[in-house]
Symmetry: C2
DNA sequence: CCGATTATTCGCCAATTCTAGAAGGATAGG
DNA sequence: CCTATCCTTCTAGAATTGGCGAATAATCGG
């Protein structure tokens, strides 16, 4: 992953509201969750939520699939895995300080 | 790690300049690197650099130790490890999709 | 104490972000 | 076609962020 892509994804997750959205979607698992249900769960105005969801989609951390009138959001696990791998690689470059994490990379 | 702390750290890393600063410090290893050397490496005005370094220090991702007139910066590996652990935990909650990463947590 | 070196803080501006109400587009049922 | 539902886009204002020159602080050698 390029450093600018990593930065963009970190920035997307670096907002408490968006991080909560993402976490909720991860916990929803493969089934995903419609925007409307995210809204009742997180108590966020629709326009604000849509704004944040769009930001997460634009960096590839989540995706959306339409089902009738509802838009179901899914966490994109591969993207997150790539991001974690990037952090682990940065964290452990040259010096082997993050041994536990390194075994994962 | 609390979700707001994680968000603050992700936000700190979510700026290309700051991510480069952090990466440079990680690669400098335990010896760390003075602010001045970061400046020549990254070609950033001193005031801008100091601004970003302060942001990274404030969330605990790096620390500074004075040595005479120079301030040596060090990556705080434990903080990064905690952040990666948080992401892995979020990423793999409920569904076991991030198996490689999970083995690290 | 003085000057040199190193880094931070101040002040300012442009640009972006966050938030959210209001309006608009997409889809389905009747 | 009309209406309801669901979500996005538009619009706008407050707040924050990023960037950087200039001024200020901290430290050391002499």
């Amino acid at each position: 992953m390029k450093i600018d892509d990593a930065a963009a994804r970190l920035e997307a997750l670096g907002n408490p509201t968006r991080l909560k959205i993402y976490r909720t979607l991860v916990r929803a698992g493969r089934a995903g969750m419609p925007v409307g249900r995210l809204q009742e769960r997180l108590k966020i105005p629709a326009s604000t939520l849509s704004h944040h969801v769009k930001a997460l989609v634009s960096v590839g951390l989540i995706s959306q699939v339409r089902e009738g009138t509802t838009l179901v959001c899914h966490a994109e696990y591969d993207t997150m895995r790539g991001l974690v791998d990037f952090l682990v690689a940065e964290c452990c470059a040259e010096e082997k300080q993050c041994k536990e994490a390194q075994t994962a990379a």
